[in-house]
């Protein structure tokens, strides 16, 4: 059921535009917040090499956030409105992204990144069929890097699960994060329009099924168990992020994130790099 190709940003109907915006906020906020969380590991990684690798991933995700926020700028928004002056409860990222790390809980970092990267991979694959040309332009760039992220997370999971204590920690992280991981597939208010207009033709509910199969099979192979498929609906965390509900961790992260911006009393966010459309 191929949908009609949507027009340029300025030519969208109100319905189309609202659906595009909802999807872009979801994509951009996920990348931005998870990346910022990954940077918690800079200078804290288990080895210098691990430290450098997670910093790379954080920067890739920040780069993706930049690509998606940039598409929102097509509608006339500035970076300040999109990030720095937005209220905490206006962010639409899944609450998986915002969870703080317990000191030293590298298993959490690895499991989270695995859950996130598989979901992102599926989402990006679905977006390859998008009816909105501006999103289609950006997909290739995102896809190339996600492959490396998934491999990184899988390698670490394999290494940790060769060890009894490592496996125990991975299992604990899977158990703790699962309810939040499921929020990645919780719909925004515009989900039906997003699918019907073909902006992302595959519904999130279907992506969740694929995600469950992929991650479940891989973790099972490592001796790590995941919840039963039937239990998933009841397991989803109460705060999904997609509707603006967040955990306390987000408010703390948000306060720190915006601290300097507020302190400087700024009205603009300094750009240092070329606009993605000009690269």
């Amino acid at each position: 059921m191929a949908s009609a190709r949507l027009g340029a940003p300025g030519d969208l109907s109100e319905r189309e535009r609202e659906a595009v915006e909802a999807l872009l906020y979801q994509l951009a906020d996920d990348e931005f917040v998870v990346a910022d969380r990954y940077t918690d590991w800079q200078c804290q990684g288990p080895t210098l090499e691990a430290d450098i690798a997670i910093a790379n991933i954080a920067q890739d995700e920040l780069g993706h956030a930049r690509l998606w926020y940039d598409l929102l700028q097509d509608f006339g928004y500035e970076e300040t409105e999109l990030i720095w002056e937005r209220e905490a409860e206006e962010f639409r990222h899944a609450t998986l992204c915002e969870q703080s790390f317990e000191s030293g809980d590298w298993a959490d970092a690895v499991v989270r990144s695995y859950f996130y990267d598989v979901a992102e991979f599926l989402q990006v694959e679905a977006l390859a069929e998008t009816s909105y040309p501006r999103i289609a332009d950006r997909i290739e760039k995102v896809n190339g890097e996600e492959h490396y992220h998934r491999e990184h997370a899988q390698n670490w999971l394999e290494r940790l699960c060769e060890d009894a204590e490592g496996t125990r920690r991975v299992q604990a992280a899977v158990d703790d994060l699962y309810p939040y991981a499921l929020t990645l597939f919780e719909p925004t208010a515009k989900e039906d329009d997003i699918v019907e207009l073909g902006i992302r033709p595959t519904p999130l509910a279907q992506l969740r099924e694929e995600w469950y199969d992929l991650t479940g099979a891989f973790l099972d192979g490592l001796g790590v168990s995941v919840p039963d498929r039937e239990a998933l609906d009841d397991l989803v965390a109460e705060e999904t992020g997609r509707d603006g509900s967040h955990t306390d961790d987000w408010q703390r992260q948000y306060n720190e994130l915006t601290y300097t911006y507020r302190m400087l009393d700024r009205t603009e966010a300094r750009r240092l790099m070329a606009d993605p459309d000009e690269v």
């Binding site: 800079q42 288990p46 000191s103 060890d163 490592g166 994130l257 300094r270 750009r271 240092l272």
Partner: protein, 318 residues
């Protein structure tokens, strides 16, 4: 046999004679005194990269724009990468392993630059490190491209290349604040007043007071003295500070001596007691930084156990 031995082993006199840029490497059988001096110097540098990354780290999250966040994250990552390179160059000398050096850093035995013992309070202080201190470090490092231990010089090539971008970014933050509101300019000046004496002390005590200088210079590890480096720094950075509207504090007094063509700093205006306390890793705030490093390293100890002795399970429980 006799000849071959003579060919490989070098005594200190021969080292001093041959000492020149990138003269020695892992295939040379260097005397222990040289290897120890080089290890001390490179380990200090590596530790400084790690602890420098530590004080900049909070500003990844606190950066006020997406691009600045990316730049600070990349910068902190580069510094960890420099640490990695330098520990490798030091390891080549056969005195200490990387693990030993990292343990020493976490235990408070490892020494590092004075400026990285002071945590940064806010964004206004960031360019003090990213522009002035990194600029000072760049002066010193540029002279180390000619150090006699080749693996060190090789690491320095990459470090200087990347450090150039960091300083540019530091200058861009400085320029943005300096052209901001009046309040921005005042806060920037306060940060500068606070950091200026520390920056002057970056180069350490004057040459006649410096403990390890003579030997390191004689064997070509060090290629320029503290005094000359400080002058080279001030020549460039005093005008830059003024360009951004910063007033140079009256104390410590800095004057230019026309005869020697050098800047002179009134040494008594600087707090050398604090400097020495820092050098012993006993300055309270610096100790706080080291303890933080210790705790975070301890918290991920289980990961290193798991990947180094897989299958062994929790060794601590046995």
């Amino acid at each position: 046999m006799q000849d071959r031995y003579k060919h490989c082993y070098m005594d200190i006199e021969e080292v001093k004679q041959r000492a020149g840029p990138r003269e020695f490497g892992p295939t040379d059988d260097m005397p222990e005194e040289y290897r120890k001096a080089a290890t001390r110097m490179i380990q200090f540098h590596a530790n400084s990269e790690i602890m420098g990354a530590y004080i900049e780290r909070p500003f990844i999250r606190q950066a006020p724009s997406l691009d600045r966040k990316l730049a600070v994250s990349a910068q902190v990552q580069d510094e960890i990468g420099h640490g990695q390179l330098l520990y490798r160059a030091a390891e080549n000398l056969g005195i200490k392993t990387r693990e030993q050096m990292l343990d020493e850093l976490a235990n408070g035995e490892g020494k590092f630059l004075n400026c990285f013992h002071y945590p940064l309070d806010d964004w206004y202080e960031l360019p003090m490190i990213m522009f002035f201190v990194d600029g000072a470090a760049m002066r010193r490092q540029a002279t180390l491209k000619r150090t006699s231990w080749e693996p060190y010089a090789h690491a320095i090539d990459k470090i200087c290349f990347e450090e150039g971008f960091h300083i540019k970014h530091g200058e861009s933050i400085l320029a943005e604040l300096a052209s901001g509101t009046r309040r921005d300019q005042e806060r920037l000046q306060e940060a500068f007043d606070k950091w200026w004496p520390r920056i002057l002390q970056f180069f350490g005590p004057t040459d006649d007071q410096s403990t390890h200088s003579d030997f390191s210079s004689a064997v070509g590890l060090k290629t320029m003295g503290n005094d000359a480096l400080r002058t080279a720094f001030l020549n460039v950075y005093l005008p830059k500070a003024e360009k951004y509207g910063l007033e140079i504090p009256d104390t410590p007094a800095v004057t230019f001596n026309e005869d020697t063509q050098r800047y002179e700093v009134e040494e008594d205006d600087l707090d050398w007691d604090e400097f020495m306390q820092i050098a012993r890793n006993q300055y309270p705030q610096g100790k706080g930084q080291i303890d933080k490093r210790h705790r975070t390293q301890e918290a991920v100890e289980w990961v290193r156990d798991a990947i180094e002795n897989p299958g062994a399970g929790s060794a601590a429980a046995d």
